[in-house]
């Protein structure tokens, strides 16, 4: 029966562009409906705003991870980088409000530095990024432990914590707009603009085919290193928001690297690079958080979250692999 049979065009589903954001929007919409059925209160502006504020760090990390993944690499170090930043911030600020801004700047510089080191080791020493960033992950975990004797010291000032904890009160209609949400919106817009610039196109081209990019005059190593720096910076901002939200914690960043990678994959970005949109990655993170919220409303144990994440990664990669091979 497998004769040459012209496919009946009218019956074909609208073809979804690979790497587009339509699928993730559809999943998000379905989840919103499910949440609305189970817990209608959740969709009230007040609780929705607070949900978005709480999700800001993981969304930013997903954006940072997107830059690295779309250029064809991985960054497994972001979770431990977040933890390190929070612990360092607490020790340096030591509850002294005057040290808030210098420490914020230091954290950003530290994040960028870790990204730079990750990038240079990956591109110049040709160590696979999986190994580079895994090594960085372990180095940071050990260094934090050593530096703090295994127990957090000092404390974060209220001024530092307000970024992740406070909000503009009494905003018309919305109620309470968390600072974290504003930080997110500003940085999300910046990320989208960056991806529309020459740099963004180069980044995707590098991930799609580094050889071709190299031959057409792109300095691949520089582009990729810059992607790692962006990921480090995203981790620094996420650390500031997370530290603000929950205070000093040795597990502030535990597992965030996998959350970010899951979000990116869920957002339709191809592992291996070259395909996908930064908006997709950020929507992926939002969808993941919404899925966890839904699981919570249904009383699913929090312990299942990592299982669900693993399932999503495997499923999404498998789906995208079948799709691209059938192209």
């Amino acid at each position: 029966m497998q004769t040459v049979q012209p496919r009946s065009l009218p019956l074909r589903l609208p073809r979804v562009r690979p790497g587009g954001v339509l699928p993730i929007l559809a999943i998000l919409a379905v989840l919103l409906v499910l949440v609305g059925i189970r817990q209608p209160d959740f969709l009230a502006p007040q609780s929705l705003m607070s949900f978005l504020g709480r999700s800001a760090p993981i969304i930013l990390l997903a954006a940072g991870q997107y830059f690295v993944i779309v250029s064809g690499e991985f960054d497994l170090s972001v979770g431990s980088l977040v933890t390190a930043q929070v612990v360092v911030a607490a020790r340096l600020i030591d509850s002294d409000p005057a040290r808030t801004w210098p420490v914020v700047l230091l954290l950003l510089a530290f994040g960028a530095l870790v990204g730079l080191v990750n990038g240079l080791i990956t591109t110049r020493l040709r160590v696979p990024s999986f190994i580079t960033t895994l090594g960085m992950f372990l180095i940071l975990v050990g260094a934090v432990y050593l530096w703090s004797d295994g127990a957090p010291k000092g404390g974060l000032s209220e001024e530092f914590r307000r970024f992740g904890r406070r909000a503009f009160e009494d905003v018309p209609v919305l109620g309470r707009v968390p600072y974290a949400l504003l930080v997110l919106v500003v940085l999300a817009v910046a990320a989208v603009l960056l991806m529309r610039s020459d740099f963004g196109r180069t980044l995707v081209a590098v991930g799609d085919n580094p050889r071709t990019a190299e031959l057409s005059g792109v300095r691949v190593w520089r582009t990729r290193t810059f992607a790692f720096i962006l990921s480090g910076l995203a981790a620094a901002v996420a650390a500031i928001l997370l530290g603000g939200y929950s205070g000093v914690s040795f597990q502030a960043g535990a597992g965030l690297e996998f959350g970010a990678i899951t979000a990116v994959v869920l957002g339709g970005v191809a592992l291996g690079g070259g395909r996908g949109a930064v908006v997709g990655a950020m929507l992926g993170a939002l969808t993941l958080e919404l899925l966890f919220a839904l699981m919570n409303f249904y009383g699913v144990s929090g312990a299942l979250r990592s299982t669900v994440q693993g399932g999503i990664i495997l499923l999404a990669v498998a789906v995208s692999a079948t799709r691209s091979s059938s192209r």
């Binding site: 993730i24 959740f42 929950s246 205070g247 000093v248 409303f297």
Partner: protein
């Protein structure tokens, strides 16, 4: 395609969870009615009864020095350990990996300094929370000419043979905090214990909360005896008070995770009417979760960490703080010196375990000390106070 797949995944999870929705926590079973689940296998009724009786017992010893007091003393003879000083005292420490142990160890160091005319050398080895390292540490210390050995064991069963080997070496051994399964040490020092801690908090929460309200129980991790006893005593109290325990969750002692868990429960149930926890490290995170959600903070227990005492006073919480006093780190040094003098000591050496209540809160709240300091350190008369603890 990805959408369909994800929705399938979601509906699978949703199906799997329809049933426990009535009793949400994985660890809570509906069978007992109050949601507290099965009793911990660490629960020993006789120990529980004994500890609860100790809560009301009158201690012997100087009232202003609870670290020298003993509840129901049974003295043992130590004449055979009598030795001329000054002494070399060695200490094998399980870990320094949490603020409680940090404060405790500083207190112990200060006690050593206060006794410096009688102690020529104090050797401290940190096992970094590893059983194997501590076994090796104890073995090493036996070859170092210590006059007395103090051990704070990392885990009970695994360290028992190492402590037995130390006893056989002939030097006096003092064990404190967590215990070992042998009577060979000269004495074992610890406060009343976990049942007392858990009971005090649970009884307060069930009495103060609105009748029929929902309680969330926060535990650090399962399987550690001192923490299991706290929870098992709380479970008995909650079952007796017929309180609706809607969740028993593990926080790993982490504020970030705690805040998320408490927030999840507030979102799921609209409100929570009481919070019990087996250790105070995450108390402030739990309070913040209610504040940030715009909900009143329900009756709860914490511990004697200053961040919690401060927020308790500032926000006028309905709270209580049972303690596992850090002053117990002074006692082993005092005990070791008494043993080396040939004086009788009590074995076991049960220390009183005070509770911070609304009435005595001001007495323990010292605004000058750092947030992670423990009020019950009994350290204000020691050399280097307060700088050493900052």
């Amino acid at each position: 395609m990805a959408a369909i797949a994800a929705v399938t995944l979601l509906s699978l999870t949703a199906c799997a969870t329809d049933e426990p929705a009535a009793s949400p926590s994985g660890s809570a079973s509906a069978a007992t009615g109050s949601g507290t689940g099965d009793q911990s296998k660490f629960f020993v009724q006789a120990d529980y009864d004994a500890e609860l009786a100790l809560l009301d017992a009158a201690p012997t010893g100087p009232a202003d020095k609870p670290w020298e007091q003993v509840l129901n003393p049974t003295m043992v003879d130590t004449a055979k350990f009598k030795k001329n000083g000054p002494h070399k005292i060695c200490f094998s420490n399980a870990a320094l990996n949490n603020p409680w142990r940090q404060v405790g160890f500083k207190t112990m160091q200060a006690e050593v300094e206060a006794q410096k005319s009688r102690i020529k050398e104090f050797v401290h080895v940190d096992a970094e929370g590893k059983d194997q390292k501590q076994i090796a540490d104890i073995n090493d210390l036996l070859g170092k000419g210590c006059d007395a050995l103090i051990v704070s064991p990392n885990t009970t069963a695994t360290l028992t043979p190492a402590v037995e080997a130390a006893c056989k070496a002939g030097l006096p051994v003092v064990v404190f905090d967590r215990g070992v399964n042998t009577k060979c040490p000269v004495t074992f020092i610890n406060p009343i214990g976990g049942y007392g801690f858990g009971h005090v908090g649970a009884e307060f929460v069930s009495q103060k909360m609105k009748p029929g309200g929902k309680v969330l129980a926060l535990r650090i991790l399962p399987g550690v005896d001192v923490l299991e006893t706290r929870w098992s005593a709380a479970k008995v109290a909650f079952d007796k008070a017929k309180v609706d325990v809607v969740g028993v969750e593990f926080t790993d002692g982490d504020p970030a995770k705690t805040k998320k868990i408490v927030d999840d429960y507030i979102q799921r149930y609209g409100t929570i009417d009481g919070v019990w926890m087996d250790a105070g490290a995450v108390a402030v995170a739990a309070v913040e979760a209610f504040q940030d959600a715009g909900k009143p903070v329900p009756p709860m227990n914490g511990e004697d960490q200053l961040d919690f005492l401060k927020i308790w006073k500032d926000k006028k919480l309905t709270a209580i703080a049972p303690t596992y006093p850090t002053y117990q780190w002074r006692t082993p040094i005092i005990a070791a010196l008494r043993i080396l003098d040939g004086q009788q000591v009590s074995s076991p050496w049960k220390l009183p375990q005070p509770t911070v209540t609304q009435d005595n809160l001001d007495q323990y709240l010292d605004a000058g000390m750092p947030p992670l300091h423990y009020a019950m350190c009994g350290c204000t008369d020691l050399p280097g106070y307060p700088q050493r603890w900052k």
